[in-house]
Symmetry: C2
């Protein structure tokens, strides 16, 4: 954007196991995960969805008791950790809004504090009982390394979401997730990872999905964290259901070039006049 | 739609090798391919893009000399073949329009003749030199087996296209293609097949892509014809660059149900009010 070649960005996803309604333990887990990722030189660190609280709630009161506002100490902790290297961390939390509503949100935290909060717009299953759906378009955040888009979990299953972020300039999309385990034929990647691969290539953006692991109140998780390059190929993945860090280096300059050849460009070739059904409300 | 259970549909894709500017040979090849597919009980037969003409043109005059109008005899041949079993064939051809323009089109032919012609809206590479881009939304055609959507090749790389067809009721999408061979890491499926898998699952539609094979004026093809079910898994594929028929049986009733669980539905969960960037013209 400045004409200056951007440095390569190391992305890390921390496939950890938040514990349901154990805020203090989850704070420690997230801190350790961020520190480890900084240790490998990560400039973008992605944590799972609802990393401060766990996911499998039993009732609304439980969610509310775990909900945090934007002044919560955990975000100061993240800021203090990433400030020295100007890194950015994206992680999920149940957000208590000033009007008392609770959202399934993701915070983007950098050296100066919270850069953006995104409230998930496509809610999955019981989330519809606990959370208010977000009412704003997903953010594109200017960061030290480039333009960062944010989605949460089920949002990835709406091709409209990734595409709209790319059109608005996102170069890398961070996606905190809690993917419940789904059936998949032998030898296949998890379906959600296939979505990430396709979405990245279709819009020539990097995609970094961070899932969780651990059995929580009987729920098993996919654990398919992945970092996908602009060609749609997986640079790093943790397809099995074990915990740990994955990381990969990407060149975001490539995400600024949408050309496929001298005649084709994945965004300029769009025919928005012929996509009317996409914005019809049924 | 009638309450009556639809019979299962057998889909066939014929990964054949059209010869550039050899209309008579290509007519015979297509006839034989349709006959073979009918022999395995196919109710929907998909042939490659530009199956009547070949693909790698050298100049506009060459394209124009191969262009057919909708009264061309080849479509009568296809109709005669499919009429006894009420099957439907979808195949590509260079279309000479009444105003003299030439389009990269696909014909949908059933027992009564041409049911629809779709003019490709996203043109690839040199196609921009030979063809006028289509100006109409891709069709959803009522057929004996259900609602058929049609795209051609590079259209698949616009997630807007598949999604819009699903919103408009398409249960199965036939995609004649000519996929030039692209690099892919060892052990991976062709990227285009990954797009087909993701697109099918995201909208819970069946997708049937029919590629071509054969080296044409130095161009090699991917040859990744595939039939994908509503869960996004590949039922039949021909990933290698060899010719031949693939077929699979699908239950289109499943494509009419977009529910994932008691709370989620892949189309009703959309948030069109938050997808504005998709229909912005830049």
């Amino acid at each position: 954007m400045t004409g200056r070649e951007a440095p390569r960005l190391r992305i890390a996803c921390q496939q950890i196991a938040p514990a349901i309604c154990q805020q203090e333990e989850n704070r420690r887990t997230a801190k350790a995960a961020i520190s480890e990722a900084l240790g490998v030189g990560a400039g973008l660190i992605v944590l799972p969805e609802l990393v401060t609280s766990g996911y499998v709630f039993r009732e609304s009161d439980e969610v509310r008791s775990e909900a945090l506002d934007r002044a919560a100490g955990v975000f100061d902790e993240w800021r203090e950790l990433v400030a020295p290297s100007d890194a950015v961390v994206v992680g999920g939390f149940p957000e208590l809004a000033s009007d008392g509503r609770v959202y399934n949100s993701a915070a983007v935290v950098g050296a100066t504090g919270i850069l953006a909060v995104y409230r998930k717009i496509h809610l999955w299953d019981n989330e519809k009982r606990w959370f208010t759906p977000g009412g704003d378009v997903p953010p594109v955040v200017q960061t030290p390394f480039g333009k960062l888009g944010v989605l949460v979990c089920y949002d990835l299953e709406f091709p409209e979401s990734v595409r709209a972020l790319a059109i608005r300039g996102a170069e890398v999309i961070a996606i905190p997730t809690n993917w419940p385990l789904c059936p998949q034929p032998a030898g296949e990647r998890p379906a959600v990872m296939i979505h990430a691969m396709s979405a990245a290539r279709l819009s020539r953006v990097c995609v970094a999905c961070c899932d969780r692991v651990g059995t929580e109140r009987g729920t098993e998780w996919t654990g398919g964290s992945c970092i996908v390059d602009v060609d749609g190929w997986v640079l790093a993945e943790r397809a099995k259901r074990d915990s740990g860090l994955i990381s990969a280096e990407v060149d975001l300059v490539r995400a600024r070039d949408k050309a496929l050849n001298r005649h084709n460009d994945v965004l300029r070739d769009r025919r928005p006049d012929l996509y009317g059904a996409l914005t019809d409300n049924g």
